[in-house]
Symmetry: C2
Subunit: 208 residues, 2 copies
DNA sequence: CCATCAGTGAACGGTACGTTCTCTGTCCGC
DNA sequence: GCGGACAGAGAACGTACCGTTCACTGATGG
């Protein structure tokens, strides 16, 4: 918590630069995020809390969305590798549970706010989606490819809409009902929707 | 277009009341919605456009979300009855297409904005969801019940999460990718996800 | 050691909020 | 058909935050 600088006037006192300044700003951003939520997070408040100037913020990030994304990225560690339990069901459930848990945190608060803010701008929405969902989709694809290799599901299951819809349903539940997401919701998605769809996947070529 | 009142000063001129006032405000609201979109729709602008006062607006609706919902409700006619083609696939596709088409209109613009604005407030989100999705869920349930009666799918398919997820996927696509929603997206949802899930639905009792 | 760079805090004009004020048209009971 | 209550119009207010610009001065590198 480097934000404990207190009432230091950085016009006279130690004037931060480089990493120290970034850290102070990111700390202030995350603290504001936790305290008042994304929606009421204001550049003015972050600047004041970090004892930095708004000009310094706007020099680095054009708006609060970029600032928050940077702060989360700065905080976030390495992504976990894809689960590999030998069971498709367990792999998928693990992946979804991991995502659900992530949403029940500062990350989720930010994700909800970022979604809300960018929903009105399709271009930014696409950009945001690329940053947030791409990782999960890659892991899901990995899981499915292993299941295909094991012979658990047909190769036709490797299709974008079959890869993306389970995480999409989790996201939707989060957006509508909030976090935490009950585990039975995840089990329903996997057992009643995803697995039947994957098992019955048919290659369009078979229909010709 | 009752909004064509022009430069009438309603302090002196005919002062509207009751239905006339409501209509003028709703017309102005929908016109603003169409012109600048939900996000830039401001109470100030609506009031000015309707030659009404902000006080009159706030007396009736506490915020723009309520105002827009009321305006849409005022405009909206009777909901169509559930499709009944004799084919589950056609019924569901018709329902989803209808929903997709509805989203590609003023209603969709408003829905996106309302979602964005209320995403940060779980309580309001729930309220909003009740107003927007309940109708569709009822129709979907009706369709599925007919399919069960015909013997097309097992009775176990009548479960909330199986009823709700197809419209949810449509909504999610709309939120992320915008409108119009390509028809093949709807066909993928129905053919590759919904129908396999419904056909394979198993009663939990069968597993005991 | 000094010129340049860069961060701070303050102030600005702008937009929209939600509230409150005065003035006055409209309606209802009598 | 009259007069008071009710309620709408428009303007003004204080608040919040936006994104920008300013003068000042600490830090940095040649």
């Amino acid at each position: 918590m480097a934000a404990a600088a207190g009432a230091v006037d950085h016009r006279k006192g130690p004037r931060r630069r480089g990493e120290a300044l970034y850290s102070a700003i990111f700390d202030a951003t995350l603290a504001e995020l936790a305290e008042v939520g994304y929606w009421r997070l204001a550049m003015e408040r972050v600047a004041a809390r970090a004892h930095a100037s708004k000009a310094s913020l706007y020099k680095r990030w054009p708006n609060r969305a970029e600032l928050v994304i940077a702060a989360l990225h700065h905080q976030g560690g390495e992504p976990d590798p894809a689960p590999d339990t030998g069971s498709l069901r367990e792999d998928v459930l693990t992946l979804l549970r991991r995502g659900a848990q992530r949403l029940d945190s500062l990350f989720g608060e930010a994700a909800r706010g970022l979604m809300a803010e960018n929903l009105t701008n399709p271009e930014r929405t696409a950009n945001l989606r690329a940053n947030m969902f791409t990782g999960r989709n890659r892991l899901m694809r990995e899981i499915l490819e292993r299941a295909v290799a094991r012979g658990d599901i047909p190769e036709a299951a490797i299709k974008p809409h079959l890869i993306e819809f389970a995480p999409a349903l989790v996201d939707h539940h989060f957006l509508i009902h909030g976090a935490p997401i009950p585990d039975h919701v995840l089990r329903h998605i996997v057992d009643d929707i995803l697995l039947p769809a994957l098992t019955n996947a048919t290659d369009p070529a078979d229909l010709e």
